[in-house]
């Protein structure tokens, strides 16, 4: 009784497999072009993979190149509904009728589906736009209507491709709460670029890069202990990959980074990562001498304000220091500096 996915789309270089338990919400993270929308398209039946097998509750939806007979259940018959990256509201229907489209197609009465649609419009906060045509909506309003339409379809498996895109800060927290409530009992695949969405809405995270799964697991776990560069980026953590040599991480550039290895203890020669938050980094202009700390020489690329602090970025790493400290150090893009991190602040684990 789960959703099982396994498919290869050769010309997009997307080849991966995963399962989802009933009622589980999985966040799909990954850089642009990683293959997230491709996975959703295959699941919704909009794209036939080269080889693959997709089943929902034991029922095969797409089978190709397996020992079973090839099979492709048409999109409308899958009980899978998809909110695509573009809103694509039906231009000839009012906003209300757009949202009522799903219930109506499922066979609900006209008045019943309208009532349901009305309810969903209220949830996303655009009930007063019910009678408008899609062409008369702003970008964010259209996005909200599309979210309402996808939710109203009430499928067995719900696929959401960046549902919070184009929304303003005033509505995001409220909609996030709505989704949190609505998605709780459903089986959902949620594509997002936002770690907070992943943390709050998803039980599990799957990180894709270059068409492959590079990291996955419990949402908070994955975001706290990222194993891939992209996951670290989304979690806002610094990551230095290397090999475990002589109780330290040896990077490809030949640098040694000391940290405290977690459980299980890595073995000599294992590929490992050193991970630490920007707030654990102190910035100096000169290398501080003779202490058990890591000092990495870096070139600063830019400075950003970040929640009252200043984030100092280099090509690979970032540090968070007070505005005062930044002013005292007289940092500017192009400056050379040292990032100093206490070994105890660095987590090291195998990948």
């Amino acid at each position: 009784m789960t959703f099982e996915y396994e498919a290869t789309v050769a010309d997009r270089g997307v080849d991966l497999a995963f399962d989802i338990a009933p009622g589980e919400t999985v966040a799909l993270l990954g850089p642009n072009g990683a293959g997230k929308s491709t996975v959703l398209a295959v699941t919704a039946g909009l794209l036939r993979p080269d080889v693959g097998r997709v089943t929902l509750d034991g029922r095969p939806l797409t089978v190709r190149g397996h020992r079973e007979r090839d099979l492709h259940v048409p999109p409308h018959d899958r009980q899978v509904s998809l909110l695509a990256q573009e809103p694509l509201l039906f231009p000839h229907l009012s906003v209300l009728d757009n949202v009522a489209f799903g219930p109506r197609s499922r066979g609900d009465s006209r008045s019943g589906s309208r009532a349901a649609a009305d309810q969903w419009l209220r949830e996303v906060g655009i009930e007063e736009l019910a009678d408008r045509r899609p062409a008369q909506l702003s970008g964010g309003q259209a996005q909200r209507a599309a979210v309402a339409r996808a939710l109203a379809a009430d499928p067995k498996l719900l696929l959401l491709d960046e549902p919070m895109a184009a929304l303003d800060v005033a509505v995001t927290p409220a909609l996030r709460q709505t989704l949190r409530r609505v998605l709780a009992e459903r089986t959902v695949v949620l594509v997002t670029h936002d770690a907070l969405d992943a943390l709050l809405l998803a039980d599990r995270v799957i990180v894709i890069d270059g068409g492959e799964i590079v990291d996955q697991g419990d949402s908070s776990e994955v975001l706290a202990r990222p194993r891939s560069r992209f996951t670290a980026q989304i979690a806002g953590l610094n990551m230095i990959p290397g090999t475990w040599r002589d109780h330290a991480v040896l990077t490809a550039a030949g640098m040694r980074v000391e940290g405290h290895p977690g459980d299980p203890q890595p073995h000599e020669g294992d590929p490992v990562v050193a991970v630490f938050p920007p707030s654990a980094v102190s910035v100096f202009l000169d290398a501080p001498g003779g202490s058990p700390r890591n000092a990495l020489e870096v070139t600063i690329t830019h400075l950003e304000p970040h929640g009252g602090q200043i984030r100092v970025r280099t090509a690979e790493l970032s540090a968070e220091i007070t505005a005062q400290a930044a002013a005292e150090l007289d940092l500017a893009p192009g400056s050379r500096a040292f990032f100093v991190i206490k070994a105890t602040e660095i987590a090291v684990y195998g990948t």
């Binding site: 409308h76 018959d77 509904s81 039906f90 000839h92 197609s105």
Partner: protein, 263 residues
Amino acid sequence: MTGQPVRVGVPTWIFFPAVAGAAFVLLPLVAIVLRTPWSRFFDLLGSQASQEALLLSLRTSGTSTLLCIAFGVPMALVLARTSFRGQGILRSLVLLPLVLPPVVGGIALLYTFGRRGLLGETFEVLGIQVAFSTTAVVLAQTFVAMPFLVVSLEGALRTAGQKYEVVAATLGAGPTTVFRRVTLPLVLPGLASGAVLAFARSLGEFGATITFAGSLQGVTRTLPLEIYLLRETDAQAAVALSLVLVVVAVLVIGFARQGKASL
């Protein structure tokens, strides 16, 4: 008063060929109007033969337009939305009534529905006599007008694309629901212009009708046939009567376009 979306301009030079083209089409119409014996125009309009012909033309063209829609919409849909081996050939074949000289089309219909035709015996057994009846007029018009509807609707279906149909399917709408609630409403302008073309073509149809249906007053003699006959005896009157056809066409087309925003 309200904010107006701005259109992107058309290049100025484009008006020159446009006006030239319009003049080329309109000047002959003006010439006809100028040469029409207006004094006799209304007598002609009042004559029983003209009136019967006009009514018959409207009835048969209307019916054949409906038939074109009933069968042409599915054909356009199949051509635009499925792909199968030999589809290209099928599309060319469906286009053929366009090139076939109408008289040859009429002969082809005789060869099919006539007493000695392909289906003639079947029909004879059933006691149905198709040729030389009003039904034959409708069939002839449908035959020549069908490609117009199919070609223009297929074009509209292709231009409209499938993205909204796909969205509807992911919301759980089956093919029939998608067709009824998404595809049809979206290509309505294309369907309307296809229907107008088909109606106009039916209204002007002459060659296939006279060959396949004959020219019996009140039964198969439509307005173009009446005009043809009148031309034997009174060429000017024939031209005047064809103006009636023009006026009727303008009225019907204009009326049909009332409801729709675009053609």
